[in-house]
Every structure is written in structure tokens, then in C-alpha cells.
Symmetry: D2
């Protein structure tokens, strides 16, 4: 569908990890209620235009910036690089790619120094920085530890029409794929890739894009995620629980997806596995495997496939959304044209003489 | 619809707790794989016709009897009574009710002494006993403790067409209601009632009956239940996870429903609350409250409403199933004629300007 | 050592459960910091003389009353009885025992109606009541749920010189023993007894008494208890962690002992087992079994054996403390004269050729 | 005391992570009972001379090799390097250091290819390899998941007399320090250092050495560690629980130390924090801070300070143990000459008028 993104001749910057996301929200008080009062993220700085938040174990200034604005969207997917000079490398790299870039020695947001923002080849606003203000690492401040405490930023997830194209670009940039979802005809539906030795720092989900699918924070244990659900129930916000909790097939993590007041999707995530060896085995899932996205076979709600947040260009305007032309994962797995299996090759789906239940969703009204 | 069941003039037996269920299974090896290999219940006795199982903390001979037979059904809902003489009281009680009864001094199954079985006014095969063989209580045998260990039998759940009729009968028998589900017109959809100081020893679910809805075992912690899901995923049995895991509204317990090879439904359950005071506050839930059955608003699959196990009469023949004539909970809450709310009185369902998501199920294909 | 306490001819009151403890504290603000800010108990009422606290799942007015006073001590061990008339029964019962009693129709503390307080035969201030103000049960208020949430009052623990004498008195009163600690010569060191179907509502610990050993609250899961330790570490209060966390031998519960600002001992406790059957097997532990008080063999600190809170008579004066004349558990198990075993009959204590480690404490400086 | 170890002029190998330890055990069946039956490590290969074990989430051939031999000792601390050529780099590096080295193209143990073993400047048998046989990663095999499952090898811990000397050597080799313990006079008692982005791949503990202090495996959650204690209690092995469970000050991890049949110490460990950024803040603990090694102030047993395993040279002979000449952590913190504080500057140690408890251990017999 689109041209291959060439690998630049200059070296890629040495990316450490996904570091923070800047999102535009339309009601700062409502977002504060969500991220601070409900989720318990810790405020590093706030005024009437922005709130800077960090997780329990973080020592850099923030993992999330909420910026007040007219259109709910994502302003930056920001990565930390190993050395100050990696920002220079990033600048040269994206310039060779022909991307629009902007460099600010004092950073685009508080707490961050010399930074590069780019409109990347997939249309996403990527940022690279090394200099950052250190703040108190709260990791032993158990007097501040809530029952659903978010302890780290774990990853980003991006929606893009052509996953293989995006994957090649990110592999060139130094990311390593850990898992993906394909079908027997070779179509790729999603891919997970990392820098920091977990399953991912970012993932590509096939769909109309560029859009932001979710940003994920991790907890220490599974009960912390259950508490977030319980608290949302108590606050009568259960309709903002979109999907889960459950166990992912891909990544093996325990997960939950919830929606903020602007509809930005947040994943709460725990207990994936170490991937830091260069020959870490890549796991490819069959798109028809009904346990790939939920190991327990619980249905993926359609909104999870179709909804996502706009992303902004460097002028702050929403990037146009380009339609995916490859098959959609939703279409090939549920509904009239799709199918899923629990046991591959299990022809009649029968289980000890019981009639097949088929796909669970089919049993619902 | 049916006549009120009168309260006998003789005293009711003093029931301690639900003690065990005897179920007929059609493939003993398949059932053993499910209850022993998957769920880790402990075998007290087995031969080629029956398997006797108990939970980790139990000291009486068994909590579940699997009996090989031609038709999957329930043979007995068995309660332990406080004193040997309570079996006599039970016999007199049911005789006055005009029920068919059968008394066996040596018990109907191994490990149990003097017992009474009855065809109760609702059509269920109830058993009452006091004498029982003690076996090793495994509660400190952590060398046998599996990651998804079932530690107690918690409760039964029975489907009956007329819940208020059944409730009155069980209250006369000494059960106390802890929670129920009603609508604004006074229809009762379900009621939970106990003897042992938890939310229930049995519950009545409105529907075509008499049928057995589920039998429930409890775990120590929530992660034990998650492990059962994970293990079913690993064994490619995710299509036998029917509903959950989730947090109940009613009972406040963390739950999971799974299906055995014959389709008998088993609940795994943990962390309800103390109800032993006589003035324990009864909680009545609005049938339209979308958090009543799942505190997180996750949908109840239709099979959970419609499927249940047959129960047998004292000759071993299935009891005829009588249709419910009151409104069905499924019909009034989902689909074309039903509605559910997340926030009562939340007219447009909007949330911070986001369009209402409505009932989550409606978003599914 | 002392005379046997006779069983009264009148029936004992029907006790439901331990309901609350009233303790005298010498610095109300310091106690509030401990019970409210640290432990997260919920305030039902407070003024400058008293604070009324309840646990997460409680529906009666309180489980703990902190009363400002000059001497740190316990003012009442209060039990709820099944019916209003049980207070009359209690009054007659203790009058026949020759105990000093005081009846107040409006209660001794807020939230409680008609009550009887007695100086019981062991010298403890016991209270019996039925009437009580209901308050909001917070059991689903997960918006208020802290990471170390205390969900129920579980039990009291009393120090008395002559355990068999006290045990007989409490059995006459309707308590049932679940576990005890003895030696081969028949000396009883402690006994646990219940009304509500758990391992205990109160326990007798052999020692100089009458004194209050501890009051115990339960959590849902083990990690909740660990969080309390972590929080005490963060607040640099680790010297108020007296013992644990650990797994009890007796009761099989996971436990922690901490000390409030006045030195009143509080246990945090979770996951004992059901004991409601009348033939619940009693477990007798050998006093020399090194796993009886900590299943992992971790040492009991001497202060845990020797320190306890004074109790008050009905005039508010401390009851004189009478010395235990039977052997002390500390003396027979640790130090020069005592011994403990990990494996009974394990003569040389060797383990796969490794020299015996003996009692762990012996390895400490 | 000893000469500084110079930094070689050749580049250090790029170490990925600690990968496995080879230990000599004197009774293979007894060790199998410990590591397989008790701890549940998974067997990759075994014969009558060796057992190869791996953790739940591992994909390389093994994390632990048990080799039958006459003297319990450690044969290799083995690190995986990023590229095959890093083994060449390691060889050149240690040759320049003047160390004895041995290279085997087919590895020293099964499953591992081209390897270098060295007698390093501190006297430890270090190994470096890249080539390794992949085996089934069991990370989703929840049918094999035990209640106390060990999911990863986390780190080694080495005893050496001169910690600063060893630290410099390891920093030259590419390790980065995350935490250390010092006193006001500048003595270093221990240091933690990593390659893989956790608190450590190895640590240096000041003491008579070279000896192996422990090897650590991690679990997913804290309850998994508690289960291991509970199981050891059930197996009457509580005297092999040496220390814990507890929360470390250093590393913030939840921990347990147990002893294998030969006295090799194993740590079970969970939930430290991300350290992968180059400017990750180093935490220095005061040796007198009583929460440094146990955040809850629980005492460190003396055996934990004094006992450790011998290490072997390349001929299989035990390395001579050299005495530490710097102050010992045990001596400066407990006993007649030592002191510890809970609150720095808390002169009299009083707490709300309660007399100081002082160091908890002092209260023990």
C-alpha cells in the first residue's frame, strides 16, 4: 500500500525506553480526577494548563503530561535515549528520512532538557531526549502506596494501517520484535517491540492510523489491577472499563483497559517476561487463535478494535487518518466472515460430548 | 403461580451448612481429569463407579461425589445438621410437608451415616445428615497446595421458577436471606440465603426449574482463581470458562464460572463477608443495575442465564422442568426489551462529554 | 492454684461474636495517627475524649473505642449476643457467679444500647450487648480501600495465669475450643476458643494476668499485611513491629503483631479456617514444637511472651496482676532450660549431613 | 589490603545477564528433592552425575547445574554475553589481567557452546558464553505452575574481603552499581551491581572470601514466596529457612533465604525496580540503619553474615579463603560493639513515651 521506509545511512539513536506520553485533554479537572484521584499517579508539577504525573518507581520528572487543549489527541510519544549525543543522532536520522523535525534545547515540556520532536514516517509525533530532571523516586514510600498503585510506565501502543511497513521502520530504529499476530496468508495484524528488555516499549496495531491505541502503566501484582476495577465499580464508572481484566496471550501479561474522560485508552498491565537477550524467541500467534488476545478466550469488544486517539503534527493539528487496506483483525475473527478456534484442528469443537460452544461472543445477545 | 408452601408445625432441623453435592457424570475419567487434575480437589475414595472429593480445609469425608450414570444430573444437595436428632426433625418436617422421603441409617454414599433424602417442595433432592467420617484435614499440608487450590465448599445455587415461593420455604427451614435482586414492580429475580454466616449456603435463581445452577468452592485469594483461568488456557480449555473472572455485585465476592465435561457449572469464589448477626442488613439490588451481577459491568453471557443441570428424584429419574412465568432477568436487562444502568438516573449516560457507551454487550458484534 | 469456677444453673447468653474492645489511651492524637492514619480504620464518631472506629466490612457502630485516660489499659472486651434477652441471661449468669456487674440501658459507649459490664471470674471487664446502631457497611466502598485495609475485627487474646481454669469458665459460657498448646505433663500453655465459626473469638494465653495480650483485625489477603509492614518501614516505625509477619502454626493464619503508641498490641491476621461444626477437630500442639507459634520456625521475641496491657475494673482502676505459677512457655522452649524441636524425635537435628542448626534463636548474638 | 586491579586496555565483553550457576553437591538425590520437589525448578536434563534446571520463564538450557562431587562448592558463576565474539573479548580481557583462563568450544556443561572459564582477580570462577541451546519456554505452561513457582534467575551474591577493590573490577567489566552500604568513615560493606536493568546481576558482600553467598531466583508475586515457607513448614524443614521472609531495604525486594542440603544458600526474591538508565540514582545506605537489610527491622541472623559456600578453581580445588580486614557489618551493627538506629538522630529511641525497644535482637534471649 505504501512505500517502504528506507534505513538511513546514519546510525540510529540508542533508545533506552519509552519515557512519557504527552496527551491533550479537554477538561483538566476531569482528567485530574481520573489520573490522580482514581489511578493515584503522583503529581510532579501542575498549573491550570498542564499536569505532570509520574509512577511510583520513577525517578525522571514524569511519565505522563496532561495538556489542556481543544481536541483530545496525543502530542508526543517520548523516548529517552542513552546519551545526550543520541539526540543529535536522532535528528540526523530523521532528517535523512525526510521527516519534519523540531529541536528545543530547553525541551518542549517542563523537566526535560534538549529534545527532538519529529513527525515520523508513520505520522506519529515521536520525541527523543536524554536530559531530564530527577525527582524523588517514591519506590519505598509505602505511606503513599495505594491499593491499585501504578509503579512504572510500561509501553505505548500505536495504530497504523500497514504493520509490516511500520515494523521495518522501528526495527531499523533499533526496536526488537518479541511477538506478533499473523494469519496463514502472511498478513500481519500486530507486532510488539522493545528496547528495555520487556515485551515492548511500543506495539503496532493494524488499523486506521496514525492513532494512539493506548498507553500502559504497570502494577506490582494482579490484585492491584483488580482493585482498580473494584474502585471504578464503587465510583459507578464501570462503563469506563472497556475490556478485561484478563490474561493476554500475547505478552503473557495480566491486563485491563480503561478509558479516560476524553476516551484516551489506558492499559494497566503486569507480569510479562524478560526479553533482553538478542536471540529472544519471537512468538507468532495465529490471528484465529481465540486465546491470542485473551488467554481465557474472553471476547475483545469491538470498540477496542475500532476506537483510538488522534495524534498531532508539530503544529498541533490532528494528523489525517489513513484507512487500513489489509484485512482487519476484528473482521477475520468475529462476525459473519470471521472465525476463531480454541483448539487448533478441533473440527467440531466438541468437548466430552458437549455440543461446541463455539466463539463465546456468539452466545451473547 | 403455585401454592404457598405452609410452614410445618414441627421444628425445623438445625442446619449447619451445605456439606456436599452428589452429581451424576457420564464419563468418570473425564470428570476426574476436570475435578482432580485441573481443579486439584483431593480424593477421599474412588472406584470405577464413584469418586469422593474434598477441599483443602475440609475434615468431613467429602464435599463432592461424582457418580457414574447415564444422565448428567444432580442426585443430592446435602446439608449437615448440628445433632443426630436433627435428622429425625428433618424427617418429621418433610413428612408434614407431604414430601416423599427416604431414610438410610448407613447413608446413601460412603463416609456418611444416618441420612434423610427428600424430594423437597421445589422438586430438589435435599439430604440431611449429621454422622460423618472424619478424614485428614489438609489445611496445613502446603506440600499439597496447588496454585489454584480450592479450600472450602462454599455454596449451592438452585434454579426455581418462583423465587418468593422458594424463599419462604427456605426461610421456614431456617435459612436467612442476605441479598436479593428485585425490580420496581416487586418481582424477585434471585435470593441468597445462609446458615453458616457467609453470604449463602444456597441461592435461588429465577428460571425454569428445578435445576442446579452451580456448586461453588472457595479459594484463599483472588490470584488462586486467576491461576485456574490461566491453567485452563494452558490446557486449551478456555471455551469451558463460561463467565468471569469478575467481582460480583451481589455477595461482593471475586468469582469465576467454569463448566465440567457434562456441563455442570462450577463457581470458584472468594472473599464475601460475615453475615452471622441476626440483623445482618439485607441488600436488595435493582435488576436494572448493571453492576449487580458484575461490579465492573462486564456482561453476563446468555448461557449463564439459560443453562443448568437437571436434578433427580429419589428413584433417579430427572425431575420435570417447570417454566418460569415471571419476567426473566435476561429479558429485562439485555436485548430489545431490557435496559441496564451504570449510574441510576443518569439520563443520557454521558461521561465527561463522551457519548454514552450504554450496555457494554451492545457494543459487541 | 485457684478454685474451679462453677457452672451457673442459669443458661448462658447466646454470644454471637467478639464485637469491639474499649481501650484507654494516653494521647488521643498519637492513637489516631496509629489507628486511622497508619492502619486506616474508619471513624464512626470522634470528639476530644473518644474515637470510635470500625473495620471495612462492619455494619455495627464500631469495633474499637479509644478513650482518653491516664493509664493505658483495657476497659471492655465486648461481645454481641443474639437477642436482647441474652443481656438479661448474662446478668443472671454473672450474678450467680458472684461477679460484680453493671447494667446500663443506654450503653456504656455511643452507638450501643442496653449493655451489661462485669468483672468476670478471671478479672476481665467483659461486656454483653445486643442493641447497636447500624452504620454504613463500607464493604464495597473500594474508593476507600487502602492497600493494608482491615476488613473485620477477628478476635481478642487474654493473658491469665491458669489457662485450664479460664478455659472451663469460657466453655461453660458457650465458647468451643479449637486449638491448644500443652506439654507431655499436661500443662496447658494457651487455648483458642470461638463462637462465630472461626478459630477464635478469644484466646487464653498463660501468663501473669488478667491482662490483654492483643486485639486482632483481619485483612482479605496476605499482601495487605505485608503492606502494613512496608508502610511502617516508610514511616520509620519498624521498631513498633514486634513480631512477624509469619504463618501461625496454631490457627494456620498469616499474622503480624504491632504495638500502638501506648504499647497495646494489635494483631493483623488473615486466613484461618471454618470451625462451625460441633465436632470440629481440636488440634493440640506440643509446646516444644518449634512450628507451633510460627510455622516457619521464626523465633518468638521475649516481649511477646512478657508484655501485655492492664485491664480495668468497673471503677476504672487497674486489676491487680496475679503471677502465673505453672511453667512459662518462654522458659520451657527457649534459653538454658528450654528446648524446641523442628522434627519430633529428630535426635541429632542433622539435616542431610549438615550439622544441626538447633533453635534458630540460638544462632543469634 | 590488596592491590588495585587495573583496567585492561582491551574492551570488556558485553555481558547480558547472570545466566546460570554450577554448584557441586554431595548427594544428588537430596539436592533433587530440594530443587525439584520442594522448589519446583524444571529439569532440562539429568543423569546420575548432574541435574540441569531452569526457571519457568527461561528459554536457555538452564539456570542451575547441580554436579555431584566430594566437596560442596561453586564451580561457576556464568554470564551470558551479547555476541559470540564477546567470548573472545572476555578471553583477551582476563589474559591481560593475568588470570588463568580455560576456553572450551563445546562448553563445560551441556546445553552451552563456546565458553570461557576464568579464575578472576577476586578468586571466583567466572564463565562467559553466548552459544546456548534453546529449550521450551514454559512461561504460559500454567498447567505446570506451582504455588511457589520460580520464574527467573535473578542474581548471584559473592563474598569478598575488600568490597571497593571488587567493585572497581566489576565496574571496569561493565557492571553498574545501584546500591551500597557504607559507614560514616567510608568503609563499604556491600555493593549491588547490574547489567540487565534490575538492581543486580551480582553483588559483593564484605566478608571472608572468595565465597558464594547466595544464588537468587525470582517469583511473580509475594504470596509465591510465602508458599515456599508454608511448604517447608509442612515438610518439617523450617530449620532450613534461614532468614525472612521480609522486605529488603537495599533493592526494595521481598525476600527469603533458605539453605539447600549442602548449606548452599538460595534467595527467593521478587519486585525490585528498573535500573536501566545510565544515570539511575545510586542509593547509599548507612550501615547503622536498622532498616537497610530488612525494611521492617527484623534481625539478620548471624549465620547469614558468617556462612557461605566455597568456590573452586579451574582444577576443581577450593580457593583459599582470605579474611576480611575491614570492619564486619555484623560487628558494627549488633552485639556489644555495634549499634543500629530505626530513626536517625532519635537519641533516646523513645516512641510516644514508651521506653525504647532498642534493637529487636537485644530483646531476645
Amino acid at each position: 500500500m505504501s512505500t517502504i521506509i528506507p534505513k538511513p545511512s546514519v546510525p540510529a539513536p540508542d533508545i533506552l525506553r519509552c519515557a512519557y506520553m504527552e496527551i491533550v485533554v479537554t477538561d483538566l479537572a476531569a482528567s485530574r480526577a481520573f489520573y490522580v484521584d482514581l489511578l493515584g499517579l503522583h503529581v510532579s508539577y501542575e498549573d491550570d494548563q498542564q499536569i505532570y504525573l509520574r509512577s511510583f518507581e520513577e525517578f525522571i520528572h514524569h511519565n505522563l503530561v496532561l495538556t489542556l487543549g481543544p481536541i483530545a489527541a496525543v502530542k508526543a510519544f517520548s523516548y529517552r535515549v542513552r546519551h545526550p549525543e543520541d539526540v543529535d543522532l536522532a535528528e540526523a536520522y530523521y532528517k535523512e528520512l525526510g521527516c519534519r523535525t523540531e529541536r528545543r534545547k530547553d525541551g518542549f515540556v517542563r523537566g526535560i532538557g534538549d529534545s527532538l520532536r519529529v513527525e515520523d514516517p508513520l505520522g506519529f509525533p515521536y520525541e527523543f531526549f536524554h536530559e531530564v530532571q530527577h525527582v524523588e523516586r517514591l519506590h519505598m514510600r509505602y505511606d503513599l502506596y495505594s491499593a491499585g498503585e501504578l509503579v512504572r510506565l510500561d509501553h505505548f501502543n500505536q495504530v497504523t494501517p500497514d504493520v509490516p511497513r511500520g515494523r521495518k521502520y522501528l526495527e531499523d530504529l533499533g526496536f526488537r520484535v518479541t511477538e506478533d499476530i499473523k494469519d496463514e496468508e502472511g498478513t500481519t495484524y500486530a507486532a510488539w517491540m522493545h528496547r528495555k528488555g520487556t515485551v515492548h516499549d511500543t506495539a503496532l496495531t493494524g488499523g486506521n492510523g496514525p492513532r494512539m491505541h493506548h498507553v500502559a502503566f504497570s502494577t506490582h501484582e494482579k490484585h492491584n489491577i483488580i482493585q482498580i476495577c473494584d474502585k471504578m465499580g464503587a465510583l459507578r464508572m464501570s462503563d469506563r472499563i472497556e475490556r478485561g481484566p484478563g490474561r493476554h496471550g500475547v505478552s503473557n501479561a495480566f491486563y485491563l483497559y480503561i478509558l479516560d474522560p476524553d476516551g484516551h485508552r489506558v492499559e494497566i498491565y503486569t507480569q510479562d517476561y524478560y526479553t533482553g537477550d538478542p536471540d529472544n524467541p519471537v512468538i507468532t500467534w495465529d490471528v484465529h487463535d481465540n486465546q491470542r488476545r485473551d488467554w481465557w478466550g474472553n471476547p475483545v469488544v469491538p470498540s477496542w478494535y475500532t476506537e483510538a486517539s488522534l495524534v498531532l503534527d508539530l503544529d498541533g493539528n490532528p494528523q489525517p487518518v489513513i484507512e487500513r487496506t489489509d484485512s482487519s483483525e476484528m473482521a477475520v475473527t468475529i462476525g459473519a466472515d470471521g472465525f476463531s478456534f480454541t483448539r487448533e484442528g478441533d473440527e467440531d469443537g466438541s468437548y466430552h460430548g458437549q455440543a461446541a460452544k463455539g466463539f463465546k461472543l456468539g452466545n451473547q445477545v
